[in-house]
Homo-oligomer: 69 residues x 6
């Protein structure tokens, strides 16, 4: 399936913290950069996410802000 | 100012497409990876964004999805 | 690709209104229900969206609110 | 109150999973389609949500993505 | 209709900038504070928004970030 | 750091409810108005948020809806 979300960055799952409803996923995308995602605990299970596995961070463009120093 | 958004990735502005209300900003974050952001045209002006300048992509964790192959 | 977004509803594209940066897509999902989506004009082109074509509305659970009468 | 969110779909609450901060609400909107929402546990209480009750899924258009096969 | 979004702040519409797809609404909520919202041009019309009219800014809690100096 | 998010409202933290993954922050912005935010528990710790401290609610414009009576 091809999604309209413009941003899809490959990485490796470093850490999963699972609560009763939500789960925090930390993805290492290389170059010392980590991306933190919060999804439902159900999604974590249904995608079979595990530390060490490859995964993608996917972001809709309208959710991405820009900052300058 | 220190923001709760967990994700802040440095890059260079490659392209700005400005409409009457919104603007699309394409950021090169290295390693051949680009991040697309949509913000208001007003924000683009008030931050002084220009092609070639350094900027950060900032994403709240709850806006980041995870995908697997 | 399998995305963590819990919601994926099939429909038919009824109308596309394209601006310089964003595009509004109206999807008919049957039973007289329409879903309106706003994505980038670039995404509309790269997915090859056209009126009359089948497509899915995809929503991250944390973006869905609940209301009662 | 009339909200700008373009999407409002009627359904029946199938399941509520409540954590200390967030709650996951699964809504059946008919035709075998379910919508998953994550809202605060406080909102769940203040709206008096209960399994079996009618409720609406409400989505801002800019939060809805489009996908194609 | 009673929505799960925890935040609803009353104000007066100061300025509407309308593009072909999106519209920017600036709301004065008193005390010299303004809130900027971006909604679809269609929503602006269907709600009958006009400069000088009262309106509310509505935000889902999970869309609100926190910052400190 | 200067962020594109158009909305930044100063307040005082009234209450923090912390779960294993997410935390709910209630901010008093004066005039009897409260703003509820949900961020990660990790962000709450890394920003050093505490009840009674000053903080800002930050909202991207495209996340703010408009409602009328």
């Amino acid at each position: 399936m091809n999604v309209s979300a413009r941003n899809c960055i490959k990485g490796t799952i470093m850490k999963i913290t699972k609560g009763p409803v939500m789960a925090e996923i930390i993805l290492d995308i290389g170059n010392g950069i980590q991306i933190t995602s919060v999804i439902t605990a159900h999604a974590t299970e249904s995608l079979g996410l595990k530390e060490g596995k490859e995964a993608y961070a996917v972001m809709k463009s309208s959710e991405v802000m820009i900052a300058v120093d």
